[in-house]
Symmetry: C2
Subunit: 337 residues, 2 copies
């Protein structure tokens, strides 16, 4: 008996906001016959992440763009339906990179078994997965937070930002959390931040900068968004400030291919002997254990809050990806199949 | 008998290019009576440096601007005329920070004795002084050059840039030297650079970027100038490139108070996991010995070329400062009294 298969194929490069029109839903079926060490999995949760839009930029000067007419790549949490690998049995939950499809045959070495008794399986896509790793190493190794530092986090209610916020608080820092709604700011306030600011209350970078300066300037800036917020922060860095560039999501709708103009600021780096460093999750993949060792116990003890924005339905994947750029989600966005 | 004294007083904040109109030449005389441990010195060489213009910016977000109606501060090489300090005798040459004046009474602890038999006394303002220190520590500690790296230096024929260029070559790097004239490029070529490029041959950042990419991209960027050149370099960084912000001289004529607009580039930092770090000479003052230990023997052996652009005449100081922003000097600019 063949299995039915649904796949979202990436067919068209977006110029602005990505959406359904850049994908095609393809239905087919496939034979469940497995090769040696293969496992057949069914996706339960499929991830949508901002980096997917970077990979769709034309002039990304990064790596080859995501190829057209191929399955959209993505991390997934899946259930094992059949196994030809000694490490996996039917019913196991696994983390993999099987993309936007309902089923996949994967080699056992390309998936990782999850323990649903220990952690909710969605955490593998969030706090104990790629976003958690990015937040932990970006803040700790590049941001170098010290107790008493003012740590400004943009996109603070997002998958990475909400973890950076909490890690910084645990390190004794005063966090200024920037987010785009009253509801997000209320959540961030409940987490114990020094100040939660709704950037939409500020008409321009200058007025936001004045507010940040009043609050004591910026020792560490963990930047997920770029744009106007970043213009403001870079103008009020403290001496030897560390700027972590983790994302520039405000630019992903088109500003990567045709960058916006913004005020030059490199002289500020000189005055303040400040540093800027770009970080990517992949650089720390091999150190996942180290992050889990620190963060895992906090998650088990309920000491870290991680929200998920879960949309139900495989057909929702393109819209769920688009929603990342509309600033309504809190925490990690994913689609439940 | 009193001594005659000439002083250049900074009287007016420049909006664009600094010049004579922002200074007043004041003549007076002073008594040579010295307090305990004081020394009377006569300036022989007075320095003009780009940082002086930064200190004249209004919104410099750095430190207090240079106060109006006070003596222009500057490093000087002077001769001791009278001494009330056991470490100094008449005829000694000393390095001090006595500013734009012909004579000064200084405490012995504020000056440093030079050895004219060992090094030409002008080197204390250049290769073995502040510019040398900036070049050495900026390149070695922040740029972290490795043999084989492509090191791009802007303002490569200047006081700092020409030293960075030679230090990088000694470290086995391939230097792409950017300067603003054929004559400068010829000199840089004679120093053994990989490529000397006259940035004036490129109409915009995009065309310069194409050339840099053809040459292999950028592992280390030592930036003295900012502006269009920096826009080009930042678009073609290699993986884990290090950008050293030492100066932004293209912006000093007015762009510090009212920054120009330029394309956003922080997404490039992300793709390349590159870093930017601002450096200032003062942060390494206490490590001067360490630099001299490395660079001093090269200077003594004639293995480092250092040019000086020396203008004769105390009255030339404001024009000499202005000349820094007109891109005609090679090496260290100073005024001989």
């Amino acid at each position: 008996m063949n299995y039915p298969l649904q796949q979202w194929i990436y067919i068209k490069r977006p110029q602005g906001r990505v959406g359904k029109q850049h994908y095609k839903l393809v239905e087919s079926e496939f034979s469940p016959v497995l090769s040696a060490n293969e496992v057949l999995v069914e996706a339960k949760y499929i991830s949508v992440d901002p980096y997917m839009r970077i990979q769709q930029a034309e002039k990304n000067n990064w790596e080859q763009p995501h190829p057209l007419n191929t399955l959209q790549g993505a991390a997934t949490v899946s259930e094992v339906l059949e196994s030809n690998h000694s490490d996996f049995v039917v019913g196991d939950y696994v983390l993999g990179y099987t993309g936007w499809q309902t089923h996949a045959k994967v080699h056992g070495s390309d998936i990782e078994k999850l323990d649903p008794k220990k952690h909710d399986i969605t955490t593998a896509l969030g706090v104990l997965g790629m976003p958690g790793r990015t937040a932990w190493f970006g803040l700790m190794e590049v941001g170098k937070p010290r107790a008493g530092d003012i740590v400004v986090v943009s996109g603070a209610a997002g998958a990475v930002g909400s973890l950076v916020t909490q890690f910084a608080i645990r390190n004794g820092c005063k966090v200024i959390a920037l987010a785009g709604s009253k509801e997000k700011c209320e959540w961030l306030t409940s987490l114990g931040v020094y100040q939660a600011l709704n950037y939409k209350d500020y008409s321009d970078a200058a007025s936001l900068a004045i507010q940040l300066e009043k609050l004591g300037g910026v020792d560490v800036y963990f930047d997920n968004v770029g744009g106007m917020i970043t213009d403001a922060v870079l103008s009020v860095l403290n001496l030897r400030a560390r700027v972590v560039i983790c994302g520039q999501i405000s630019q992903y709708d088109g500003g990567l291919d045709s960058p916006e103009l913004a005020p030059r600021f490199l002289h500020q780096m000189l005055y303040k002997r400040a540093s800027i460093q770009g970080v990517l999750a992949r650089d720390y993949t091999h150190r996942m254990d180290e992050m889990i060792k620190h963060v895992g116990p906090w998650v088990e003890a309920g000491e870290i809050e991680f929200k998920t924005s879960i949309v139900q339905g495989f057909e929702q994947l393109p819209d769920a990806l688009a929603s990342l750029f509309g600033s309504n989600n809190m925490g990690k966005a994913m689609v439940k199949i």
